[in-house]
């Protein structure tokens, strides 16, 4: 049995009276690639954002390596360094160049030396193919380039789990490929990844497990073939029919 990295129990989240997540139970094991799919408003992004506490859950437990991080005593900043987050809108630090974007967290949060942080950053910038652009500012890069830098920035913290929140949704179609290629490579290298995506083909290829969410609950989960090819639930079938039509 693989080690559970993240174990979510009875997670609830509501914005005012609107319940976005209802009693979600869900685990991510070490080395696993999990894709979260579902229509917009289904709560998949909120689930991802709850996992690194960008949203505060209204109830339930998030167990990271055996510890409930929703405990009041738990050091949230420390916990977040174990999760690498990639945003839909990239969110690169606008005041820093490419290299500094990947270095600043390592230096200021992980307290690594400048040299160590720099060589680590360059290692990951090379993996995403952006090592030539270390001096560029975010505003000088294309969307795909920005997202690849954002991936390198997250990887440079050497996280246990990589979280991707619709990483290709804000990209021009011709740039989707370059980002997915990088992600595919990370998956092959054995990174633990949790991906919210609308790219069904990509989800089928890379995931060990696909989770389909609708209206704040997990409707169906299983291997890509189970969920994407032979779904058992009516809601999953409907969703797939709609997305394939497009």
């Amino acid at each position: 049995m693989m080690e559970k990295v993240i174990d979510i129990k009875h997670l609830n989240k509501s914005f005012g009276s609107h319940e976005v997540l209802k009693d979600v139970n869900f685990t991510v094991k070490k080395g696993e690639v999990v894709c979260l799919i579902g229509s917009s408003g289904s709560g998949k992004s909120t689930l991802l954002r709850c996992i690194n506490l960008l949203e505060t859950p209204s109830g339930g437990e998030i167990i990271y390596k055996g510890e409930n991080i929703l405990d009041d005593k738990h050091d949230i900043k420390q916990y977040r360094t174990h999760l690498g987050m990639v945003f839909q809108q990239f969110n690169l630090f606008n005041n820093h160049n490419v290299l500094k974007n990947c270095v600043v967290g390592q230096q200021k949060v992980l307290k690594r030396s400048k040299e160590e942080a720099k060589s680590n950053a360059l290692k990951y910038l090379q993996i995403v193919g952006m090592d030539q652009y270390v001096n560029a500012k975010p505003r000088q890069l294309s969307g795909g380039q920005k997202q690849r830098v954002a991936i390198a920035r997250a990887l440079a913290m050497d996280p246990e789990v990589m979280l991707f929140d619709e990483p290709t949704s804000a990209l021009d179609p011709e740039m989707v490929g370059e980002v997915l290629k990088v992600m595919r490579q990370l998956a092959d290298e054995g990174h633990t990844m949790l991906i919210v995506t609308h790219e069904m083909e990509f989800a089928r290829e890379v995931s060990d497990r696909v989770v389909f969410m609708d209206k704040g609950v997990i409707v169906e989960e299983g291997s890509p073939d189970q969920v994407l090819v032979n779904p058992t639930q009516e809601r999953t079938k409907e969703f797939l029919k709609r997305t394939i039509k497009q």
Binding site: L54, N91, N94, V109, D131, Q132
Partner: protein
């Protein structure tokens, strides 16, 4: 009014004019710096996230209320009145302030009140994603402020700071009411001695114009510097 008279006034009084202009610049520059620091401080204090009900958050709220009162008072009253109250008010309590120090304090506090609003606006205009990205890699509020948000705020408020500097160069003239020997006060003395008011003040107009013009150009250069080059250097891959 003739050029000859202007030139002869200048010839006779140029050291006084220069000293006055120097005082004006000194007051304007220092008070702008002090004001910008006050503004930054207040702006940051106002954007500290308040967590639940703790003693800390109550203290912070009281402190922020005091800061708001300060901003309202200094924004809502004329600087000439503030100068009178600060200087003669303290004088009445036996505290004799140096006039030059009093001038910097008054203009600095005044600038701070305006800058506080610029900074608050500057911080609020930073995209939420910048905070989220910083939080996501484990930065705390102050780390996020120092390494991510404030550098961007600096750039955004630079034009407003420049405006404030130019306003301070001009408005420091009102400090003549507490007999600070800046450019306006100096000119008044010169004109009072030679009875050539128009000619004496024409010179002053030119000096003020030169100072404000140079200040605005310098700030433009600083802005350009901060933006960096439009092009970036692509690193050539080393063959190994």
């Amino acid at each position: 009014m003739s050029l000859d008279i202007i030139l002869s006034i200048l010839k006779e009084n140029w050291p006084s004019y220069l000293r006055g202009a120097y005082m004006t610049l000194l007051i304007a520059v220092f008070s702008t710096i002090i004001g910008a620091l006050i503004g930054l401080f207040i702006g940051v204090m106002h954007t500290i996230p308040l967590r639940k009900k703790s003693i800390k958050s109550v203290i912070l709220k009281i402190f922020n209320f005091i800061l708001t009162v300060y901003v309202e008072i200094f924004r809502g009253t004329p600087m000439i009145v503030q100068a009178m109250v600060v200087y003669y008010g303290l004088y009445a309590y036996g505290i004799e302030m140096d006039r030059f120090v009093a001038a910097i304090v008054v203009v600095g506090l005044n600038t701070g009140a305006y800058m506080a609003e610029y900074v608050r606006g500057g911080i609020e205009s930073i995209d939420k994603g910048q905070y989220e990205a910083a939080s996501a890699i484990g930065m705390g509020h102050f780390q996020t402020m120092i390494h991510v948000v404030l550098p961007q705020v600096f750039r955004n408020i630079l034009p407003a700071t420049g405006n404030q500097l130019i306003m301070n160069i001009k408005d420091s003239a009102v400090l003549s009411v507490i007999s600070v020997t800046e450019l306006f006060f100096t000119t008044k003395s010169i004109a009072g001695a030679n009875f050539r008011f128009a000619e004496s003040f024409i010179i002053t107009v030119v000096i003020y114009l030169i100072m404000t013009f140079v200040a605005s150009r310098l700030l433009r250069i600083v802005e350009k510097r901060m933006d960096g080059q439009d092009a970036y250097q692509v690193q050539v891959k080393r063959e190994e």
